[in-house]
Symmetry: C2
Subunit: 344 residues, 2 copies
């Protein structure tokens, strides 16, 4: 009998659901635009409908439980969504209990970044690591930490707010109010802003051509750099230095066995990697310099696979991670997840 879990990735714009096997394969998948403006009951009803749809597609498979990734802040122990800025009217919603009752299955809740980290750890680029830091560099910067074989939660599940560590005293003020946040200088948004500032409308540059002479985004910079555009390559080099400074801090603070980079900007990972590593080698203390920095492997389904993993791997010990994976078949989490990015 295949061991499977029902997984949900609840985002502010999209709600995704899947049936995921112990091997990390997506056996069925469904998605819908989140009715985020209509309050919790409407969204919970959507979840029920997707669950019914998924289970109708695979009637012979009985999930052992439900895993849910949702936006923070949330309390993973209590299973409560506290007050996510992207979901209107959600305040202290005991989502795990509600779904457990309605779906008749045990349910576990985790914040979306931690769920994605957990997915990459169980089935992706972090397999076999005792400790791992997962960083998404997209519109913002977020992440999750596996510390000594467990998701690092801290008070109210609020650990690993990586984007808002201060790494400098320069640059534009972050939306959070501080100056020098990792996110404010190294996110895709910051990269796009620098590219926009460096070019002008109708200047004939590749960056402006790609952006149809509107504001340049981080994605445009990656695209132009891939075509060899010198301005874009210089911008990516500066971007990689900022990422390297932030990653050096993460090495010193968490001492992971690997750093896994996901998010939209990781589409340019091959172009960024060497300068990130050079910056880390330049700045990190000796013992941390050779820790591998790798690209995420699960793409946009990392959160979904991770949510399922909360149920499929409910013993979070390091031993079970190492031994379980060493003893299992090659995971295949990318069956339906071979492109795209982790949403942040």
């Amino acid at each position: 009998m295949t061991k499977v879990a029902l997984a949900f990735d609840l985002g502010g714009t999209e709600l995704r659901a899947a049936l995921v096997s112990k091997e990390g394969n997506l056996l069925s998948f469904a998605a819908a635009p989140t009715h985020a403006a209509e309050g919790p009951e409407a969204v919970i009803h959507q979840i029920e409908l997707l669950a019914a749809q998924i289970r109708a597609e695979t009637p012979d498979l009985v999930p052992i439980g439900v895993g849910i990734g949702a936006p923070g802040p949330l309390d993973p122990e209590a299973g409560i969504v506290i007050a996510p800025p992207t979901l209107a009217g959600w305040y202290e919603v005991p989502l795990a209990d509600i779904l457990s009752n309605r779906l008749g299955l045990p349910a576990k809740l985790e914040n979306d970044a931690n769920a994605a980290a957990f997915g990459e750890w169980r089935y992706g680029a972090g397999r076999g690591a005792g400790s791992m830091v997962f960083v998404t560099v997209s519109t913002g910067i977020g992440g999750g930490v596996i510390a000594d074989g467990r998701i690092l939660h801290g008070r109210r599940g609020l650990a690993a707010e990586i984007g808002h560590m201060t790494i400098t005293n320069e640059g534009e003020r972050c939306f959070c109010g501080a100056v020098g946040c990792f996110e404010a200088v190294a996110s895709g948004t910051a990269l796009g802003r620098r590219a926009t500032a460096r070019t002008r409308q109708f200047d004939g540059s590749m960056l402006r051509n790609l952006s149809a002479d509107l504001d340049v985004t981080g994605r445009h910079v990656v695209e132009a750099a891939r075509k060899g555009d010198r301005q874009a390559l210089e911008l990516l080099d500066a971007e990689a230095r900022w990422i390297g400074i932030g990653f050096t801090n993460l090495l010193h603070l968490y001492s992971p066995d690997t750093i896994v980079m996901g998010g939209g900007i990781s589409h340019g990972f091959d172009l960024l990697h060497d300068t990130i590593v050079a910056t880390v080698r330049d700045r990190a203390m000796q013992a941390y310099r050779d820790v591998p920095i790798v690209a995420a492997q699960l793409g946009r389904h990392a959160g979904l696979v991770g949510a399922a993993s909360l149920v499929l791997w409910n013993d979070h010990s390091t031993d079970s991670a190492a031994q379980g994976l060493a003893g299992s078949d090659t995971p295949g989490a990318n069956t339906l997840a071979n492109e795209g990015e982790v949403n942040r």
Copy 2:
């Protein structure tokens, strides 16, 4: 029968030993200058002599094990001292196994900063916290993290290298080679350097009077500030801002229930506290702003008490921490430890 552990705090300059009770009391204590230049065998012999002395003083008490705090880098799982810069000739020494054999007791090894953090968590300012960050601000800045009820280790036990997180792009180059390390701008050394730069020999200032017209140290600044000296108060205010920036990062990254500050500069904790808290409130995201920041309680014996705790509390779960402490008598770790600082 009193449950006791034999504890050692192995420093580069001093070796300390104690018999510590489950209540955190030091029942006997001995210390000697570390024969650090003579290599591991000489120092291990010193440990054996101190153990014999301690046990002779309390012949009716049989320790259940030995806990050792030692300088990093070290591997706490394997019990191996890797290569501490302050102990000549120590390279991959399996100290836990050696002491276990020679003393006939189970032995646990932990790096000194983590041991001190563990002591403050079990018996000091961090009692009852699920997660706690301990920071020593002295010559350098170091620390240890209790994450979700366990010491955070990471790869090779190297997590929580707090002093070398980059928090700015200004200031003098850190001894580690990078610019902007927390330690380089906020340590007692940095404070003393700023005080020295701001005054001149024979200028009649209180700072120079206290330092006998030599270089001003961080301790002199605290002392002068306590006497109301305006220069010193301004210097402490700037110091507290740097500490506040670093602490804000620690809140975002580890989400502790409390931050505990020790080390020589924490002698001025009462003078620093308000500006540290104001800086955190100004820079941290809403959910982290009200986390208590408190002074360490165990003084220079935190490491010793913590080393004993490794043995006395070998179930590291959060539950045992919260319940065990809630149900125990008032801990009295300061019986012999009512002054001084945690050595770094």
